[in-house]
Amino acid sequence: MNGLPFSFHDAALIARPSGALFWPAERTLVVSDLHFGKVERMARRGGPMLPPYELTETLDRLLADIAETDPRIVICLGDSFDDLAAARATGDAVTERLAPAMAGRRWIWIEGNHDPGPVGLGGEHLAEVTLANLTFRHIAEDTETAEISGHYHPKARVILRGRAITRRCLLVDANRMILPAYGTYTGGLFCHQPELAGLMRPDATAILLGARPVALPMPR
């Protein structure tokens, strides 16, 4: 299967090129920070009118991941919608395309800071969920271990022979894992910024996304 295999608290996981995480033993696919409706929200607030294809593009990738991994459980790790109004405005379009993929699967929407309430799309709406020994929530908690979260949109920059390469990345250390944002129009936070550098242990690893995800010591 496409992606970089690695282990976390005895679970064998795969970091996929798209930014999704797959857990074969539990047949569970995890994606974070889809931010559906971001474009709509910006336009509504009188901001720029960006190309309105982010929904299509994000859903294309998600459906491709589902088709390829055939998960039993799909976890959307919060901030699936850019805000509740965006959820109302784009909900139908999302449902229409996701419904066939949701059928016959356990689908869990974790609440995020952008979408704190239920969004009426079917599936379960939870603040957090624990599967086997791993806990899934939107924002990492200080004291937690064996935790998988999103929220920060981590990205990393490496310099190779004078050429800077910036990629979205997954961060992982002995305690926790932070997934990259899956949504197409999502900015990133460099992992050398204090928010992330402070959260991750010194020996943390960054998995840079790309055609073949690559693991590096987390750049600081």
């Binding site: 690695f6 282990s7 190309p51 309105p52 310099i159 944002a181 020996d203 055609a211 590096l216």
Partner: protein, 812 residues
């Protein structure tokens, strides 16, 4: 042309005669023709050009009858507006005229700006951006209703830029608000005054062109040194002592460089060689404002013997007693050279004195060609300028801020701007649709579109949107910059700024040059690059990426014409010998043919194409040719370019040259190459900001470090290409790239020039003309999957170094 009585009001005549001054002939002419709808004055610096522009205004305002704004003066530089205010206020006071003069720039306090709209002065001095902002207010019609004259200073500097396009669109608006508005342009010497006049005049009004006495020819020579210049490079380091000697022999010297990096390096070496501690300063656009002002003040106070500078001083104010201009590096463009030299010398009727220092052997030829052009008064011609569409999109939004409009009215108004005179209606409609709805094939924003159309009238949906439009006004898009500061507990002294990209490549301990000193990179803090002083004298890495100007078509042509001569007595002996040798072992390039040499060297096959199309086009040519060679399995490995040639190396010899250069093949490769290219993405970003697709990052505004950080415009570009390939922003990007960095126009010119006359010279060794290319920096490796491979190697190296294990550690 009807000439009316040029007699002046007594106060003004009296002022001139009390000083024993007579009015210059061109000032009289301007006065006589001041009722014309449009006048263009071409005069050298120091010829009383500004006074010529303002005299009719002073005459018309002398009786105190006019209420409100009478004359708008626009200059490309804030500082120039402030300077003109000083120079205008004292004569007005001495003449006892009832005239109020004020300036309005980005630095003017908000309270005064507000007052100026309600109660404008008689004469308002401003910049293109501040004017665009003024026209965006709902009360613009009241501010401008009595406006009589608009004076555009330094129009030669504006006429070929997007700032000029924006200005002319703003003037199209003013001409509607004040139908009697007369336009005046003040210009330095240009090759084609008609072209500038066409941009300036309200289409199809005529424009009167007045030429002032150009004054004596400048005294320009090439600085000859004992040691010949090196074979390549751009620093001019070899001439350091000769330059210092010249500085000592003159009162004040300006030393111009083509790039900031070269200015920095030169200044650094000059300082090391400066044993007598002669006071010398450095000035360029990337230095902090404090640093620049310090140098400017010292200059005006006469404390400096010399300033090492770049174009940032080109449009400078009165630099006092400058008696020598030194240009280091070939001037690339004759017009810029002449204007640069003319500007430095403010003494009318005294010849300007200038020296050119060729930085390398080829530039010797280029300098001699440029000097011939100056002597023969042939400047580089302007290419036809059609108005860019991103600027038009911004203008439509600015217009919408001022109130409702109809498409027909605005289309008619826009076409009165010369650069937009031939704008097709459907193109205008696409721009309008983009401004209103985003212009996407997928109509996603019906509820939230920016402009609402009802019965043909367009209105801003949300009046609060004006704020956003106004914040994004302007057509200059800088690369993202980061401030460089000395490391200190509370944030040290600002030294200047570097491009974010450059900053991202720095590692702790790297040393680089800024403001003439070598500093050591310590780290990044709150979007500042923190550095410390270091005793090292040799910086490890270059400082700026910077743009490099391409040699103009005219200059390239002159060089090719020179190559036809049997001998070159005008060249120094070393350069002369070099050309003779090239002719003996290969041949010299000709204007209507393309010389392509192939030869083995160092175990690789080489191909050198002497296209003389300028740096950017030669670079594009290199990319296209190598891509084509890659497809043909010829294994190109890299290339390097100069203004006159592209050198490609690879594993296999190319035997069939002509098909490589066929127009069809180049165009086809171009199409596929363009789409997925960093140049396109960079161009897209600039146009997206100007057109209002994304917001401009506010300089100085503290960036959010959180998740909401803006995402890269590259994603927008990729998304548009994938889902909406017909979108207008992609068309705009293509147009801008073709005439900008890609410069495909120059490649087409070259193809027109050479036709099918391609001379393939298969040789056994490196030729004299090709040799310097081997020393040229900026080699571009060809990489397909190279990035991924580099990343893999680096990952393995780092993980091993860090003692980290990773990968499948699945418990059994």
């Amino acid at each position: 042309m009807t000439a009316h009585d040029p007699s002046l009001p007594p106060q003004i005549e009296g002022w001139f005669s009390s000083r024993g001054w007579s009015i210059h002939p061109h000032q009289r002419d301007m006065l006589a023709l001041s009722d014309q709808p449009c006048q263009l004055l071409i005069a050298p610096t120091g010829g009383g050009k500004t006074m010529a522009g303002f005299l009719p205004t002073l005459a018309e305002l002398a009786d105190g009858a006019h209420k409100g704004l009478h004359t708008l003066y626009i200059s490309p530089l804030k500082a120039l507006a402030a300077d003109i205010k000083r120079n205008l206020t004292s004569p007005i006071e001495e003449m006892g005229l009832p005239i109020r003069v004020e300036d309005r720039t980005g630095d003017t306090p908000a309270s005064r700006k507000k007052r100026q709209r309600a109660d404008p002065p008689h004469i308002l001095l401003t910049t293109p951006e501040s004017l665009a902002l003024l026209t965006s207010y709902e009360d613009a019609h009241r501010t401008f209703e009595g406006l009589q004259r608009v004076i555009v200073d330094e129009i030669h500097a504006l006429s070929e830029s997007k700032r000029g396009d924006q200005l002319m669109l703003a003037l199209s608006r003013l001409s509607t608000l004040a139908p009697n508005l007369r336009r005046v342009g003040l210009s330095a010497t240009v090759e084609d005054p008609q072209a500038v006049a066409r941009i300036l005049a309200k289409n199809p009004d005529p424009c009167a062109i007045l030429q002032a006495d150009p004054g004596p020819d400048p005294d320009i020579r090439m600085l000859t040194t004992e040691a010949p210049p090196p074979w390549s490079g751009g620093g001019g380091k070899y001439a350091m002592q000769a330059v210092l000697d010249q500085v000592k022999a003159h009162n004040t010297t300006l030393i111009f460089h083509n790039t900031r990096a070269q200015a920095e390096i030169f200044f650094h070496h000059l300082w090391l060689a400066n044993e007598d501690q002669i006071p010398i300063g450095i000035h360029h656009g990337a230095l902090s404002r404090e640093q620049r002002e310090k140098v400017e003040d010292a200059m005006i106070a006469g404390q400096l013997k010399a300033i090492v500078c770049t174009g940032s001083l080109d449009l400078g104010i009165d630099w006092g007693d400058v008696d020598l201009v030194i240009q280091v590096g070939a001037p690339k463009n004759v017009k810029r050279l002449v204007q640069r030299i003319g500007r430095a010398n403010h003494r009318y009727n005294a010849p300007s004195k200038a020296l050119i220092v060729p930085a390398n052997r080829f530039e010797v030829i280029e300098c001699v060609a440029a000097l011939q052009a100056v002597r023969e008064h042939t400047l580089d011609g302007d290419t036809d300028h059609t108005g860019p569409l991103d600027v038009l999109c911004q203008h439509i939004l600015i217009r919408a801020c001022a109130g409702p409009f109809t498409a027909d009215e605005l289309y008619a108004e826009v076409r009165t701007a010369g650069a937009y005179a031939d704008l097709p209606r459907d193109t205008f409609d696409r721009c309008l649709d983009f401004a209103a709805t985003g212009g996407y094939a997928l109509r996603a924003y019906d509820k939230w579109q920016r402009l609402i159309e009802k019965d043909g009238v367009y209105t801003l949906r949300d009046p609060r949107g004006t704020q956003r439009v106004r914040m994004n006004i302007g057509t200059i898009v800088d690369a993202d910059k980061m401030a460089v500061r000395l490391q200190k507990a509370r944030g040290g002294k600002p030294l200047g700024e570097v491009e974010e990209y450059f900053a991202s490549t720095l590692r702790k301990g790297d040393t680089f040059l800024i403001g003439g000193q070598v500093v050591r990179y310590e780290g990044m803090r709150e979007m500042n690059v923190e550095v410390s002083k270091t005793p090292y004298q040799k910086p490890k890495i270059a400082t700026f990426m910077g743009t490099k100007f391409a040699t103009s078509t005219q200059l390239s042509d002159r060089i090719l014409t020179m190559f036809r001569q049997d001998d070159w007595p005008e060249l120094p002996q070393h350069t002369r010998d070099w050309l003779h040798l090239q002719r003996k072992v290969s041949k010299l390039p000709e204007r209507d043919r393309l010389l392509v040499e192939t030869f083995p060297h160092d175990g690789r096959e080489h191909l050198c194409a002497y296209g003389f199309a300028g740096r950017n086009a030669q670079q594009t040519l290199g990319l296209l040719l190598t891509q084509r060679m890659e497809e043909q399995g010829l294994n190109p490995m890299g290339f390097v370019t100069t203004d006159y040639a592209t050198l490609i190396w690879g594993l296999d010899q190319v035997s069939d040259i002509p098909p490589l250069f066929s127009r069809e093949n180049l165009l086809a490769t171009m199409e596929s190459w363009l789409a997925d290219n960093a140049v396109m993405k960079r161009t897209f970003k600039g146009s997206a900001i100007i057109a209002g697709l994304v917001d401009r990052a506010m300089p100085g505004a503290k960036r959010k470090t959180g998740r909401q950080a803006t995402f890269s415009t590259d994603i927008l570009y990729d998304t548009l290409r994938k889902y909406d390939p017909g979108h207008i922003m992609l068309d705009i990007t293509r147009q801008e790239a073709m005439r900008g960095l890609v410069d495909f126009g120059r490649i087409e010119q070259m193809l027109d020039r050479i036709g099918d006359r391609i001379d393939h010279a298969p040789l056994t060794r490196v030729t004299p003309l090709a040799a310097p290319l081997f020393l040229e920096p900026g080699r571009i490796p060809i990489q397909g999957l190279a990035n991924e491979r580099l990343l893999d190697d680096e990952a393995e190296r780092l993980m091993t170094t860090a003692g980290l294990e990773f990968g499948p550690r699945v418990p059994s």
